[in-house]
């Protein structure tokens, strides 16, 4: 079936070529990082995680959001999703792959990555994250591929496939919960030390993930004549909207606990992010943009007359993705490290090398997604 990814229109190959260029630039930047060390990034002693881990956190959520299609379709027979469950599964594969690449890019000694498996440490959340992320990638890849292959042959999928799919449903929740636990179990970082972090991660994941899926359906409609249908999009929009509402609600609860209790440790990170602290407020405009864009986007997605308009729907989806990307990526990671354990505020700006590596990894993820979707769409349109 993979041969279907090797045949395409002029547009397809132009897109692939563009991605290869981006990947090439990323590889060059990564070579510089491998030679000189992670010091070529904007990270430092005080802000020891940056863009790479931020992307990892955001993309784990996107990977988990496949469950928004899988659960309704396989457990509740939601027929509207029939055409696009595979899109969700392949998006999960691509996102999970990018997660692992971002972790690898962020490691000081990537040559020793197998130490995590050679010296298992069940008390460490990173250990579990490595296991569940790999498991989830293969779960979705194998089950998606098997279902697609069966469809191509015009038969029902083999009996074991449905067990993998059922497994992927709680597994999707688990990957993002483990990632949240990574942050939420650290006693010294008060922005993260909250029980609501895991529910918030899941809510924002489902909101951003469904928005990305909707955008993907529009792209597939335009470039491959593959239309998921307005019913599927509407259902996704509703799911995304409710998840977005939950996410905003959780943000509100965070603000309440911090500012009503008046405990400095709880307040400081939110103050740094949204109001500036001790004269430092580089992220303030971004956080407010994220909040306002999030509210407006969720509002549009909740309103049937508004979301019925294609332009509004696309804008709302983009707005929601950008809003959550800022909140979960930039806000979460930088806000977590500021103020530092010694109460200092340190600025963080990613370097050109860092951004090149990031874009290169996105390029790899998009290339894998493109090829997988090419296969999926080709099979499904030949079927029909």
């Amino acid at each position: 079936m993979i041969e279907k990814a090797l045949k395409g229109s002029r547009g397809y190959w132009t897109w692939v070529a563009f991605l290869l260029v981006v990947i090439g630039l990323g590889v060059t930047a990564y070579a510089k990082q491998m030679t000189l060390g992670l010091g070529v990034t904007g990270m430092g002693r005080d802000i020891s995680w940056g863009v790479y881990i931020a992307q990892f956190t955001f993309l784990v959520g996107v990977a988990a959001s496949a469950v928004m299609l899988v659960l309704p379709y396989y457990l509740h027979n939601q027929k509207d999703f029939a055409k696009i469950v595979i899109v969700g599964e392949f998006l999960a594969v691509s996102a999970a792959l990018m997660c692992m690449l971002f972790i690898l890019a962020d490691m000081g000694r990537p040559d020793r990555v197998l130490n995590v498996l050679l010296h298992p440490s069940p008390h460490s959340m990173v250990f579990w994250d490595v296991l569940v992320l790999n498991g989830y990638l293969f779960l979705n890849l194998i089950s998606g591929w098997a279902v697609l292959g069966a469809e191509r042959k015009g038969v029902k999928p083999a009996p074991w496939v449905k067990w993998l799919i059922f497994l992927s449903i709680p597994w999707a929740f688990s990957i993002h919960t483990v990632t949240a636990f990574l942050f939420a179990g650290l006693p010294g970082r008060h922005l993260w030390l909250t029980a609501v972090l895991a529910p918030r991660f899941l809510a924002s994941a489902f909101a951003a993930g469904t928005a990305i899926l909707i955008l993907l359906t529009f792209i597939l409609k335009r470039v491959a004549n593959f239309d998921a249908g307005p019913e599927a999009r509407t259902k996704l929009a509703v799911l995304g909207a409710y998840a977005g509402v939950a996410n905003l609600f959780f943000l509100g609860t965070e603000f309440f606990t911090a500012f009503y209790s008046n405990v400095p440790a709880h307040m400081h990170s939110l103050q740094y992010l949204y109001f500036g602290l001790h004269g430092h407020g580089p992220l303030v405009p971004y956080m407010w943009f994220s909040l306002i864009a999030g509210i407006i986007s969720v509002g549009v997605l909740l309103s049937p007359p508004l979301r019925r308009k294609t332009g509004m729907l696309i804008a709302a989806c983009i707005g929601l993705v950008v809003s959550i990307w800022i909140d979960k990526g930039v806000g979460l990671v930088i806000g977590g490290f500021n103020p530092t354990p010694l109460e200092a505020i340190v600025d963080y700006i990613p370097t050109f090398t860092e951004i090149s590596v990031t874009l290169g990894i996105y390029g790899i993820g998009l290339l894998v997604l493109t090829m997988l979707l090419k296969v999926a769409v080709t099979v499904k349109t030949q079927e029909a």
Binding site: L36, G37, L38, G39, G42, M43, G44, R45, D46, I47, S48, W49, I103, D106, M107, G108, R109, P110, R112, V113, N115, V116, L118, H119, S121, H123, S124, M125, V126, F127, V130, L182, G185, L186, P187, G188, R189, P264, A265, G336, F337, T340, P341, L342, E343, A344, V346
Partner: protein, 260 residues
């Protein structure tokens, strides 16, 4: 034809079974081991938890402009000098009172204490969040209470740095060698890509010496000893003085105490 096939099947299964049986037998019956394990090689290891190293810092004695302990520690351990840059590596340094004790009361604090400089370093916590976070156990709690680093195993994920509530850890963002002014031959450097921090001079403790910082202090402001021994100097001094610890509400049970 069928006879040949059956014999092959039998041989395959017998071979597999023999191998499995051999492995099981070697594991279960010491006498059957193909390689003799000499039990005397399992030599005496130190009893875990018997000794708990700790440090008491009398900040009243610490002279404002003195950096003897810092210079000595960083020299003895080949710590690179990247001070002032984002890639700074430091094992011990001076911090302000409010920076070191942000959760202690700052109200109506005397000028003297407000401007006091306190030494900050790894607290070698009894309940260390960093060792819990490490995915490879490259950082681990030793038998004598020291939170130790295994630089050979560290993958540089910096999860321990995120976990430490005290900012005690540094990462080698670049190759440290060019930034070590004077190499100390008796101690290695670290490589690019691993996390490092104070090790309570375990290499000196194994020879019966005190840590370098303690040894170097001209004012004798640093007391070091076994917290598990109620008769040790450090325990007697903790009993005789009002002491503080950094962020005690986090439950990390640090091994470093301060007299303010």
């Amino acid at each position: 034809m069928t006879m040949k096939q059956d014999r092959r099947e039998f041989l395959k299964k017998a071979g597999l079974g023999a191998l499995a049986g051999l492995g099981a037998a070697a594991g279960l019956f010491p006498a059957f081991a193909l390689e003799k394990t000499d039990p005397s090689t399992f030599t005496q290891k130190p009893t875990p938890g018997k000794v708990r190293w700790g440090m008491l810092i009398d900040t009243r004695k610490c002279k404002q402009n003195c950096t003897e302990c810092i210079v000595r520690c960083h020299h003895d351990h080949n710590v690179p000098d990247l001070s002032g840059t984002k890639n700074e590596v430091k094992w011990i340094w001076k911090s302000g009172y409010e920076e070191a004790f942000p959760t202690a009361s700052q109200q109506f604090q005397t000028d003297d204490v407000k401007h006091r400089k306190v030494l900050t370093l790894c607290n070698h916590c009894k309940e260390a969040p960093c060792t819990r976070a490490c995915p490879t156990e490259a950082t681990f709690k030793r038998w004598d209470g020291i939170v130790s680093m295994d630089y050979h195993r560290c993958i540089g994920c910096r999860f321990c740095m995120a976990a430490c509530p005290y900012g005690s850890r540094s990462f080698n963002w670049e190759d440290p060698r060019p930034h070590v002014e004077e190499l100390t031959a008796a101690y290695p450097t670290r490589m690019r890509g691993v996390v490092e921090k104070c090790n309570f001079c375990s290499e000196r403790l194994s020879k019966g010496d005190l840590p370098a910082c303690v040894d170097s202090c001209p004012e004798k402001a640093l007391i070091f000893g076994d917290l598990n021994d109620p008769d040790s100097e450090i325990r007697r001094m903790i009993a005789a003085n009002q002491t503080m610890q950094r962020k005690p509400e986090l439950g990390t049970l640090p091994s470093v105490f301060y007299i303010i």
